[in-house]
């Protein structure tokens, strides 16, 4: 039974805690960042589960190691360059 004070404290820090991890987002995120995270998550998922890895290897007709390598490489800028920063965004 945590004291109410502690709970509140936890809430105040929730955002802070979440921001320590990659893949989390915030209210000011843009589409590009969000989708990039999705892409990376997806590829990490596909390469780290042997079944998924094999499946993709069969579809792409590559060896499993190559598929794994490809998937890792696709995590670099998976969606292409980030969009130009609009000066209006900061306002």
């Amino acid at each position: 039974m945590a004291l109410p004070g502690e709970r509140f404290h936890v809430l105040a820090q929730l955002e802070h805690l979440q921001s320590k991890y990659t893949g989390t987002g915030h209210a000011d995120m843009n589409r590009h960042e969000w989708v990039v995270n999705q892409h990376r998550d997806t590829r990490a998922f596909q390469m780290s589960h042997p079944g998924m890895n094999t499946y993709i290897a069969v579809v792409e007709n590559e060896s499993r190691a190559r598929t794994r390598f490809n998937l890792i490489n696709r995590m670099i800028q998976p969606c292409g360059p980030p969009p130009e920063k609009n000066p209006l965004d900061d306002v």
């Binding site: 802070h16 987002g25 590009h32 989708v35 892409h39 998550d41 590829r43 998937l71 292409g80």
Partner: protein, 1328 residues
């Protein structure tokens, strides 16, 4: 100039005579030898400081840094050795001290006052205060024209070199002076001269002294410097020109950029000399009281428009306001090294409103307020005072107020009518003391009182209204929402005391003010204020920018009056803003390090952890390159303190950024040819890394050992020692793996053991000792034997130094521990060769006095005992249980306890057994200190003797019974405690009759009036009850319990706790012996206990409700509890709800649920809330049992979730969350979705409590409904145009990511490609 050189020589001579060696001199290698000699005709003096006095000769034998010996970073171990007070000083001495203390002004609250960090720190820690918060550095990663004022790596290194050389030259000079070789160039005999004379003479000499001569207090300081440089020129240094040019910068120097302004940067590095600077103005102040040296920038010399204060009665003992402030100011500076005049000359009158940059160094901070105000006279509320001064002033002011002449009106109200006012005689001249007049006039700047305690005195008379801090200082900022300032805060927050027109301020000034307000709130405010301050400062961190933020925060952290709490808060602020600022911090990395590094060696464990976290965050934000280039110059700093802290900081960086990243750098540093300091620090970094990261060094072990191994053959003793310590740390961290990595160092270490003596030997032995456990048995055996020879030799070492090291550092114990824990040695060898000398050297009373030795010795002995068997060891020490020294007896007892606990008592023969019990009883009866060592020991030994203790039980019980009758409460308490300990043994020995007797005796003592004793008696009864069972208990339960009911009313916590435990045990196992009516009575008593402060009591009470409900059925108990929901007191209601939940858990929910759901219909908010809360707790406790009740409670919950009242919904949401988690995997999704639809809209609420419950409920839904369902809810709002909607939903989304990222992959929406970006995840389209 020659004159000041002469003065310098004089001063050195004086110093030599006084033989005062500042601790900071310790790195000065050259001046070995003649420190201790007393000059002819001088009075000899005693060694005041063992370290300081001996160090000059045999520095190598002493540690001059913290923790070179024990690097375990355990809380107790990394503490600097505290000077232990000898306990056996003679009486007269004490009286003398007491009288002496009473004679002076002592603060009676001194003990209760929270100590500032500075007060509790050791000399070594204090060095942190002497470091300069260095100026900003250039950020190499930013593509821009470098700001001229930011120093790059090259400048810093050059500066470093320069300081090093200067230090060298100064040391040389000092040496020469000591040797009497230093001659004054001018050769004139010294003449006592007023400072003004010399100042005037000198002023024309250099055109840049203008500023300096205008500032009397600091005027002398640069002159001294100048003169000194002339001397150093004499000693062949080319730097003289630099010195001359420096004061010219004084006008621009407020920038704190030593790259232009070498002068302002020097004082920080020049630590030991500072004191002289500080002294100067004080002397001046004594010589000519007419001056106001502290207020240097307001110069009597130039200011004809200045207020004349020549008539200050400075000679008078009692301080008036005018002579108080100026003469005190230098004292403040002297007390706080950084506050010396280092910066002050820069605050020339031409800068009426000083810039924030000046505030960066606390040194300059003091005068800013005045300067900023552009005031000529030091306005009262600007005067920085220490709390003591403030106190004194307040006191004086009060005396003056009380003795103020009565006014006419007051007299009229006092006297009966008929008096008249006489005309004063013609020749009467009233007393006109300006100071008194000043005192009597109330200053207009009065305000609310500062903190502290005031006697509510006689009612104020009119006109003496304001009390403030003696009416002198207004501590309330103009913004009334801010907390009041503390006296020490003045220099940092004084701007807040001024009324300013916001619209007049520039953007920077406004920002500065805002930051200041936030910081003040965080520092002094109430928790809500703090919270909002912290939030705002974090939110706006990027807006304010790194510079202005750190320029205000860091000086606060360097403040000498900082307290733990404040430091914690400031560190927290830094931590938060680091995240926000990210790479913007780069130019400020060094500044931050200077302030944070001292935390790494703080005594306080949490401070160390905080420091580590900050530095690791800093490293992540700034990047490796910046960290290295920033910290590189400190690695071969002349100051050992700087090197020590830098090494620790580097270790943290390594742990944050990974060891491999740092390896090339370390390799280079450890091979440095240029300075041994660099090598030393490099090796120390490796050592610290090993300590910090433990087995994480394993993958890099080989590389790390290779990096440090050359240090073993270094020409510097210190480097060899630290290398050995480093290898010990590496071996300890990697145990039991990685011996291969150490192959290359075994031989040098082995040779080193033969070659070294003293401290070096200790380090080498430690290294070998830690390496042995890594070896296989064969090698370990060989090495152990060889090392043992040396160890045994050192046990009996006649060399006091060696012995001291052995005792003090405990290294030897450590080594022995290592060797004995290994397989390599036969017990017989230890028994015959080691033990005799071991006991001779270590088992004595002196070892028991030092807490650390005590621990080490106990551990080592226990360790050896495991090797040679417990009989051998116990036989050796058992007689010491009757030693006269209590502390020693305790150590013996603890050792025996540990040995017996580990190895049992089977080996102990009858004779030893007898001796043991005899010793136990003696030690137990003789104990005077209150602690559990004796009791624990008694209990453990008796229970491991088991049935064999039967023979002694009568004796022990006799002692106990006799002592239960003792007059002294403490003795009775101990006796009762002992019963509780040995009850299990008595049971084992089938002494039930005896226990029954004990029970009756204890029962009779239940009338005990000392609560502590009563608590122990109850505890003993409980123990007896527990072992002999409820049926056989004497007195019978039916008599015992009614006797306990009134004791439940006792307010003492110990009594309450033990009583409720006993009652709970009876309710659990013996409820049938007592009538239901008695139990109901107890129920009512228990309700009161729910109010207890101590959590364990409340918990015990709640559990007892459960037992009682089980015993007599839930209905009556429930009725009582539900009635209790109507009370006003919140805690009572909360506990009642918990009790209801417990009852429903123990008696199955279906017996309770109908009743409480019925109770929900009572139209009273407290009751309804209570019911919901009970439901919430119930679902938490019953877990998956909830699946049977979910459909029953859904309508109620839906109803509650549609309630207007926010708190009501909040509790309902909480209940839903627990419910959802409970029914995971039972196919209740339909009900859960229904509930989620009612929970979801609560996201728009403002209350953080409600939002938190909401997030929690969504988390529960994620578990039970699956993340995809919750994601679908989220997707509707993640990109909502309104931030208010987006924000809470992102919180939930983030939880989804953290909890089940994988599961979301298939569920993300398909985002269409744009011309530049490919957003579709095509892999998901693959179909085979």
């Amino acid at each position: 100039m020659s004159r000041s050189g002469e003065a310098y020589a004089q001063e050195l001579n004086r110093k030599r005579a006084a033989n005062q060696r500042a601790a900071a001199d310790e790195d000065n290698d050259e001046n070995k030898g003649n420190g201790n000699k007393v000059a002819f005709g001088e009075a000899g003096n005693f060694d005041t400081d063992v370290y300081g006095s001996v160090r000059g000769e045999s520095r190598d034998r002493y540690m001059d840094s913290i923790g070179t010996g024990e690097e375990d970073d355990v809380d107790e171990d990394s503490m600097p050795t505290v000077q232990k007070k000898s306990t056996n000083y003679s009486q007269p001495h004490k009286f003398i001290e007491e009288v002496a203390a009473a004679a002076e002004d002592t603060d009676p609250f001194a003990e209760t006052r929270t100590k500032t960090i500075a007060e509790r720190q050791s000399k070594y820690h204090e060095r942190a205060m002497r470091r300069q918060i260095s100026p900003d550095r250039a950020d190499a990663f930013v593509d821009q024209t470098p700001d001229n004022r930011n120093r790059g790596y090259a400048e810093v290194m050059r500066d470093q070199l320069y300081h090093e050389e200067k230090g060298r030259v100064e040391r040389e000079l000092a040496d020469k002076a000591k040797a009497g070789e230093l001659h004054v160039v001018g050769g004139q005999p010294e003449k006592k001269k007023g400072r003004w004379d010399s100042g005037k003479q000198e002023a024309p000499e250099s055109e840049n002294l203008g500023a300096a001569s205008a500032t009397p207090s600091q005027g002398s300081a640069p002159r001294k410097r100048l003169g000194f440089s002339a001397l150093s020129a004499d000693a062949a240094t080319p730097r003289a020109a630099r010195w001359d040019e420096t004061p010219a910068h004084s006008t621009g120097a407020a920038d704190a950029t030593p790259s232009i302004d070498k002068w302002s940067s020097t004082p920080a590095a020049q630590t030991p000399r500072r004191n002289r600077w500080d002294e100067t103005p004080k002397e001046g102040g004594l010589n000519d009281g007419s001056m106001t040296p502290g207020w240097g920038m307001e110069t009597p010399a130039r200011g004809s428009d200045d207020v004349k204060i020549e008539d200050t009665p400075s000679a008078s003992k009692r301080r008036s306001r005018w002579d108080l402030t100026p003469s005190q100011t230098p004292n403040v500076a002297a007390a706080t090294p950084l506050h010396s005049g280092g910066q002050t000359p820069s605050f020339t009158p031409s800068h009426p409103s000083q810039t924030p940059i000046g505030a960066m160094t606390p040194g300059g901070a003091t005068p800013i307020g005045t300067a900023a105000m552009g005031m000529k006279t030091p306005a009262p509320h600007m005067i920085p005072m220490t709390p003591e001064q403030m106190q004194i002033y307040r006191w004086e002011k009060e005396i003056d107020d009380r003795n103020r002449p009565l006014t006419d009106e007051e007299l009229e109200s006092l006297f009966p009518p008929g008096y008249k006012v006489l005309v004063p005689p013609m020749n009467y001249i009233p007393l006109r003391t300006p100071s008194r007049k000043l005192m009597a006039t109330p200053t207009p700047m009065g305000g609310a009182g500062a903190g502290g305690f005031y006697m509510p005195g006689t009612p104020d008379r009119d006109g003496v209204g304001e009390k403030g801090v003696g009416g002198l200082v207004d501590t309330q900022p103009k913004n009334a929402e801010l907390p009041p300032l503390k006296p020490d805060d003045m220099q940092y927050f004084d701007k807040l005391l001024m009324d300013v027109d916001e619209s007049q301020l520039t953007k920077e000034e406004k920002n500065e003010r805002e930051i200041m307000e936030h910081l003040l709130k965080i520092k002094n405010g109430t928790p809500p204020m703090r919270k909002s301050g912290l939030r705002k400062i974090t939110e706006n961190a990027r807006k304010y920018g790194a510079g202005p933020l750190f320029n205000q925060i860091l000086p606060l952290l360097m403040s000498p009056s900082l307290e733990d709490q404040e430091r914690h808060l400031m560190v927290k602020v830094i931590d938060r803003i680091l995240y926000k600022l990210d790479d913007l911090v780069r130019p400020y990395v060094h500044k931050i390090l200077v302030v944070i590094e001292p935390l790494l060696i703080d005594e306080d464990y949490y401070a160390r952890v905080e420091g580590r976290e900050i530095i690791s965050n800093l490293a992540k934000a700034a990047g490796l390159a910046t960290m290295i280039s920033t910290m590189r110059p400190d690695i071969d700093n002349v100051d050992e303190y700087v090197r020590n802290t830098t090494a620790r900081a580097f270790a943290v960086v390594a742990s944050a950024l990974g060891i491999p990243a740092l390896l090339p750098f370390l390799k280079a540093v450890c091979k440095s040819k240029k300075s041994w300091q660099a090598r030393h620090t490099g090796i120390k970094i490796v050592q610290q890394m090993a300590i910090l990261m433990g087995c994480a060094v394993l993958p890099h072990l080989k590389a790390l050992v290779e990096i440090v191994e050359n240090g073993l053959d270094d020409e510097q003793q210190k480097v060899r020692t630290i290398t050995a310590l480093c290898l010990a740390a590496l071996a300890e961290a990697s145990a039991p793996y990685g011996i291969e990595a150490f192959d290359s160092v075994l031989k040098p270490l082995w040779k080193g053991i033969r070659m070294h003596r003293g401290k070096g030997l200790a380090a080498f032995l430690k290294a070998i000792g830690y390496l042995i456990p890594l070896m296989d048995a064969e090698y370990a055996s060989y090495y152990t034997r060889e090392v043992m020879l040396i160890l045994i030799r050192e046990f009996a070492s006649p060399d006091e130094e060696m012995k001291k090291i052995v005792l003090k550092v405990g290294v030897r114990c450590c080594v022995v521990k290592q060797c004995c824990a290994t397989d390599g040695v036969e017990p017989s060898y230890i028994r015959d060769e080691v033990l005799p000398s071991f006991f001779k050297a270590f088992w004595n009373q002196r070892m028991a006095m030092d807490r650390r030795n005590y621990r080490q010795l106990v551990d080592t002995t226990v360790e050896i005992a495991q090797k040679v068997g417990c009989v051998e060891m116990i036989a050796r020490i058992v007689d010491d249980l009757k030693d006269e020294n209590e502390q020693y007896r305790k150590m013996v007892m603890e050792t025996i306890e540990n040995i017996v606990a580990l190895q049992g008592a089977t080996d102990i023969d009858a004779r030893l057994e007898e001796q043991l019990i005899d010793g136990l009883l003696y030690a137990f009866q003789e104990q005077t200190q209150e602690d559990s060592v004796m009791l624990d020991g008694f209990g453990t030994i008796c229970s491991s003797l088991g049935r064999r203790a039967k023979a002694y039980i009568p004796q022990i019980c006799g002692t106990i019974l006799w002592r239960l009758n003792n007059k002294s409460a403490k003795v009775r308490q101990q006796a009762a405690d002992l019963i509780a300990r040995i009850a299990p043994v008595m049971h084992m020995c089938e002494e039930e009759k005896m226990m029954g007797h004990m029970g009756v005796v204890l029962y009779e003592y239940l009338g005990e009036e000392y609560p502590e004793v009563l608590g122990s008696i109850l505890g003993a009864l409980k123990a007896i009850c527990n072992v002999i069972g409820m049926t056989k208990m004497t007195p019978p339960i039916k008599d015992l319990l009614p006797r306990l009911t009134p004791i439940l009313k006792n307010r003492h916590e110990k009594v309450q706790e033990n009583c409720i435990d006993l009652v709970g045990a009876i309710a659990d196992r013996g409820s049938e012996f007592v009538s239901a009516r008695e139990w109901m009575r107890i129920c009512f008593e228990l309700l009161e206990l729910l109010k207890a402060h101590k959590k364990s009591i409340r918990r015990a009470a709640i559990n007892t409700f459960g037992f009682i409900a089980k015993a007599i059925g839930p209905h009556d108990v429930l009725a009582t509890l539900l009635n209790n929901l109507k009370v006003q007191e919140r805690q009572l209601r909360v506990c009642t709800t918990v009790a209801i939940a417990i009852v429903s858990e123990t008696c199955a929910p279906f017996t309770v649920l109908p009743a409480i759901m019925n109770e929900y219909r009572v139209p009273e908010i407290n009751v309804q809330n209570g019911v919901l809360k009970a439901l919430s707790f119930m679902f938490e406790y019953i877990g998956e049992m909830a699946k049977d009740y979910i459909y029953a409670v859904v309508p109620l919950l839906i109803d509650a979730l549609m309630e207007r009242d926010q708190v009501h919904r909040q509790i309902a949401v909480d209940a839903v969350a627990h419910l959802a988690i409970g029914v995971y995997g039972f196919g209740c999704e339909d009900a859960l979705i229904h509930l989620l639809n009612y929970v979801w809209p609560n996201m728009l609420e403002n209350s953080p409590h409600l939002i938190q419950r909401w997030v929690f409920a969504c988390e529960g839904m994620r578990v039970s409904l699956g993340p995809i369902k919750v994601l679908q809810y989220c997707l509707q709002a993640l990109w909502h145009p309104a931030r208010k909607v987006r924000e809470p939903v992102w919180k939930v989304f983030n939880n989804l990511i953290l909890g089940s990222a994988d599961a979301l992959i298939a569920a993300y929406p398909r985002v269409e490609n744009t011309p530049t970006n490919q957003y579709v995840r095509y892999e998901l389209d693959y179909v085979l």
